[in-house]
Amino acid sequence: MVGVIDIGLGNIKSITNWLDRCVVPWKLIHSPKDSFEYNLIILPGVGSVLEFMTKLEQLRFVDYIQTKSHQGQRILGICLGAHVLFNHSEEDGGVRGLGLIKGTVRHIPLNSSNTGWLPCSFDKRIMNEIWKSQKQNVSRKQRVHGRVFFNHNYGIQLEEAADIDLKIQLKELSEFSALVNKNNLIACQFHPEKSQSMGELLLKMIL
């Protein structure tokens, strides 16, 4: 069962549609009192960080996420949901994040947002090893190539090494991470829920 944190912001419906397409059972987490045991908790995000963090604090999800993370709960943050996993974001004049991964979210050096598709490739063997995927099919090709969808003005800059640190494949954004895995935490800058077949493959590898 996958839990999706619902604080009334972001594209929750896109996330649940993605889970439905992958035939993954899900449940919305409306309150930090939710005591269900999830295989994965998704922190979605389309929005601005100040409003998002304020809502997380108001609804007492800050303690919930931090406690769950320390207990080893697997958490997937998507776009803004990924940004808040880090120490600090420059957006909205500077906002403190949850501090679960050492890094900073900085404005990307482009005239406008990085909106669009970029090529991406994964080695399934490495991903499966780190994410301990339940389903491993060794007869299939191990390196998968595809494209993923980005829509952001701010990007992740890591302070420490992570198990997986996939960089954004754009010359100007090579300092920013597209995907970070640190122990039980996965921070995904792109939108796997809108990355068509590549997004579905990614979810299968995570689970």
């Binding site: 009334g8 389309v46 929005g47 005239n111 909106t115 969808f149 003005n153 809108k194």
Partner: protein, 233 residues
């Protein structure tokens, strides 16, 4: 450059528009999205072609909330007040398209969207005509106006701006890229729509490289059908 499409949507049904005044029905929203998902487009812009009176905003949002698509979606048409923003929550969309509020002196609507959904989520939409002179369409007033009536401060808050050629709408060629010089606009953030197709997307006839083009449904289906046919040969 991204390649997407526009999907006109009102009162539960999708339409193909011709010349800004004639609509041909395409079916339900989910049916249209299912067909477009198969093409693996870069984006779909769902636009409600509302004019001065907007009776179906809430009903259409309810329908849109149920829509399922694996393609990035933008939604616009009818987002004109702070109350309209309040009921946008829970939509399966990543970006919001604004048109009428670009004419407002009051920037509260666009600023609220900015703070709630982030600056990357705002797309401006400017329908234009260049029959006798360059004019832009104000949907709320249901009329064409001088381009000077657009609030430049509002435009600057948009992450990208769609220039929609009303004269060439429904055709595969004819987009008038020359109009860019008539607007105080950042030419790096433009999306071209109306009278564009894969045939003209590669630069020469357009002159400017847009960030994206929105190919109309009719053209998109025809070109994809052609590819499939030749592929079968």
């Amino acid at each position: 450059m991204r390649i997407g499409t526009t999907l006109l949507f009102q009162d539960g049904y999708c339409y193909q528009s011709y010349g800004w005044n004639m609509l041909r029905p395409l079916g339900t929203l989910q049916n249209a999205l299912n067909h477009l998902d198969k093409y693996e487009l870069d984006e779909i812009s769902i636009i409600r072609p509302v004019r001065d009176n907007d009776y179906y905003y809430k009903k259409d949002l309810q329908r849109l909330k149920k829509a399922k698509s694996s393609t990035p979606l933008a939604f616009g048409g009818g987002i004109r007040s702070l109350d309209d923003i309040m009921i946008l929550e829970g939509l399966p969309v990543e970006r919001f398209i604004l048109s009428s509020v670009l004419f407002d002196k009051d920037l509260s609507v666009i600023k609220r969207l900015h703070s709630k959904y982030g600056e990357q989520s705002i797309v401006g939409f400017i329908p234009f005509s260049f029959k006798n002179q360059f004019e832009v369409f104000n949907s709320r007033k249901n009329c064409f106006q001088s381009a000077h009536s657009i609030n430049e401060s509002a435009l600057q808050l948009c992450d990208e701006v769609v220039l929609h050629d009303c004269d060439a709408e429904g055709r595969n060629i004819g987009f008038n890229a020359g109009v860019v010089s008539n607007l105080e606009i950042n030419s790096n953030n433009l999306i071209f729509s109306g009278g564009v197709s894969e045939i003209v997307r590669n630069g020469e006839s357009i002159g400017i490289e847009p960030k994206s083009i929105l190919i109309e449904n009719k053209i998109l289906h025809r070109e994809n059908s052609k590819k499939t046919y030749y592929g079968a040969m």
